[in-house]
Amino acid sequence: MPAMTAPILSLTGITKRYPGVVANDGVSLSLQAGEVLGLLGENGAGKSTLMNILSGLATPDEGEIVLGGATMRFHAPKDALEAGIGMVHQHFRLVPTLSALENIALGDPRHTRGRLRLRPLKARLEALASELNLSVPLDTPVGALDIGSQQRIEILKALAREPRILILDEPTAVLAEDERDGLFRVVKRLAARRVAVILISHRLDDVFGACDRAVVLRQGRVAGEGRVADLSREALVRLMVGGDVAAPSRSAEHAIGAPLIEVENLTVRFGRGDRRLEDVGFTLRAGEILGLAGVEGNGQHELIDAITGLAEPASGRVKHLYARPGDARLSALRAAGLAFVPEDRHARAMVPALSLSDNVLLTRLREPAFRRHGLVDRRAALALTTSLIERFNIMAPGAGAPIGTLSGGNQQKLVLARELSTEPRVLIAAQPTRGLDVRTVAFVQERLLERRDAGVGILLVSSDLAELWALADRIMVVANGRLKGPIAVAESSFAEIGHWMSGS
């Protein structure tokens, strides 16, 4: 345990705003030499922004970084490196055809200026690796090595510059169970050498396996922090997903109708290490909101892709009872009454360079309403978009403006408006309120409830348990490769669902 001395790093009131989003809102944290700090939070909670600020990829709008007693201002990654902050990115930055030795020499001008001087570096790396008991083949091309070895090379690469602080970004996301234990041992040894480690994760096991202290971010703010020894899993989940908010009042009773989607024995693969979400089964009915809860990255994304026909499941069946049997392509399901709000707004739900009206056409291109003489009826699309802008109160210069110029909340409003504009019978909405401001969140939630009352069957995926609790009629949870539930919210408790989410 590190003694409480002056912190090696302290962040005070770090604020970073992007258009429409406050990514970090007055974040303060401190780090002692030799301490392992777990930084937890869902996607979009502000972890990446904070680490980008620390590693010089972004500059804060407000706040102060004090490192070893001196106030720092990083303008480029090189500044952070020189100040002694090393970073191991989640996606490795290695040249696959080069050896570990060459990769490590690559980023360091001390070894590459003028001519390559690899021998002294190799001796130094071997000493370092044996000291940390880090087994790394230095001469094999990196591309031929497994993920765990590549990660150790990344760590060694960062350590070769003798950092005072090492940041590991989601290091366990790509590792198998036994590799993870190996990583934790390395982290402990680093801490013993007085290196301060920040371990970013959204897995509770990482916190309990490797960290001394944990800081939880939610919606850009520090939601809580504490010594790991004093924390329970349930407490951490509550901090991550917003359970400290008083459980919101439940909505009134309403009629639940016929089954729309039946999922039977569905298994999907996800993650890089061939993880599986196995044997999923549930039925979505008309007039209900069925919530799918779970800490991010437990196969929700792949499950939704399998249900919407965008990907083949490993095994099992999905029956869309509202559609003609046989044709499970997304376009056919859409024609039968499916609407789909995917979680990755920028990558899939819209094309930032295209106008709002073209983004409305994105999913409605096939409809006769938007055809005239065999050509696209842009005027009809513009008219519809203009009315959607008005009805959904979207802040946009006009239907012809590129959607990429809008704030995140307004982009999401347009996506939702487009999906609801087809008068769907089924709506699958994944993280529809993520990254949005409070007012927009309420707006989106109201639209969902409105549609449910109108008899639409809604499958709502969210990692915000408070949201599901407020909206869903039944909730199911994915954790540890299995689906639990669904269970009627009325028959469950907030604590029980949180317990399921923590994987225990």
Partner: protein, 351 residues
């Protein structure tokens, strides 16, 4: 920071094409000075010969016909973000098939033989392009590499054809027999070489404009080009669209090759369309992938190609100066689209 980004965006936007042309001529002027000649005299000859008299200009139009067709084809592929560098190969394959058919159909009425042989050439070029598209869609093989390699395949195929199966009956020169008049395109303005291919190219401009800017397929190409995941989410078949875009692109190039033979050369020979496919890249890029501007940029490069002969004779500036200008145009647009990509990447959107 924001300021420079805005400047970059402006350059990529409306006035960009003009800036690029001026810059390209500026660099060319530099090379002319290096060759100890006067750039103003050189450009005066270049433009005087091509735009200053009717015959010169008619030759520019003749050259612009295949460049327009091939350039339109590249607009289709580039819109779908498929980098077809293989228009040269598609031109040659199209010409080979169309000549083979034209020679095999002697005595057929021309209203039958001409469309048939041109269509066959377009189809052949289309299949040749679609092959590269298929390899990209199915195996993620870079269409850039594949189309460049297929250019060499087509080049060798042509060389073999005119020395083997399609060689003229006299078997003296490496060339095919002349197409019968019934399988050729007629000259439409007496005293020039401007042929009926002009009408076909004009019709193609209108059709490709409708396709790219007004049709559902054109919209789908654009979406696929900007974001394949969004296309899949939108219910579009992203892989099939790549194959189709490459097929249409190759089809237009194949048509260009067929028309160049049926309208100008009347027989297959080596180098009947010297690097038209590469020039067509500059044509399409300079037109900013807008079909309406393709004829204009095709005429510009027609001027350069036709005028360079006079330039060489009268000033002593060698022909490759045109390649320098062309290369600068292509590089400038690559740089601009790279910068545009960076500008997008730097602009922070939501986290």
């Amino acid at each position: 920071m924001t300021h420079t980004l805005d400047a970059r965006r402006a350059l990529v936007g409306g006035g960009g094409a003009l800036v690029v042309v001026i810059a390209a001529f500026g660099v060319a002027a530099l090379f002319i000075v290096l060759a100890s000649k006067n750039p103003f005299d050189t450009f005066a000859v270049l433009f005087g010969y091509t735009l200053g008299n009717a015959i010169g200009f008619s030759e520019v139009v003749v050259r612009a016909i295949p460049l327009t067709l091939a350039g339109l084809g590249l607009c289709v592929a580039f819109r779908a973000n498929a980098f077809n560098i293989g228009a040269d190969g598609q031109i040659m394959v199209g010409a080979i098939v169309s000549v083979a058919l034209g020679l095999a159909l002697p005595g057929w009425p021309s209203y039958f033989a001409v469309p048939l042989s041109l269509l066959a050439g377009a189809l052949a070029g289309g299949l040749y392009g679609a092959l590269a598209g298929h390899l990209r869609a199915r195996y993620n093989a870079s269409e850039i590499i594949v189309t460049i390699m297929l250019n060499y395949v087509a080049l060798q195929l042509l060389a073999w054809m005119i020395r083997g199966p399609l060689q003229e009956t006299m078997a003296i020169f490496p060339r095919s027999d002349a197409l019968p008049p019934s399988a050729s395109l007629d000259v439409i303005i007496a005293g020039t070489r401007i042929h009926e291919g002009f009408y076909i190219a004009a019709a193609a401009v209108a059709l490709v404009y409708l396709l790219l800017n007004r049709s559902a397929l054109g919209f789908a190409f654009k979406v696929v080009g900007l974001s394949a995941p969004a296309a899949r989410y939108g219910g579009l078949k992203d892989r099939a669209l790549i194959v189709l875009a490459m097929g249409l692109s190759g089809g237009l190039a194949g048509l260009a090759g067929s028309i160049e033979i049926a309208g100008v050369h009347r027989r297959l020979q080596d180098d009947f369309a010297p690097s038209y496919g590469i020039t067509a890249i500059a044509v399409a890029l300079l037109a900013r992938l807008d079909a309406r501007f393709v004829p204009l940029t095709a005429l510009l490069f027609g001027v350069l190609h036709v005028g360079s002969g006079a330039m060489q004779r009268q000033i002593g500036i060698p022909f490759p100066l045109v390649w320098i200008i062309q290369g600068i145009v292509i590089l400038a647009f690559l740089y601009l689209s790279y910068m545009r990509g960076r500008a997008r990447a730097i602009t922070p959107e939501a986290v």
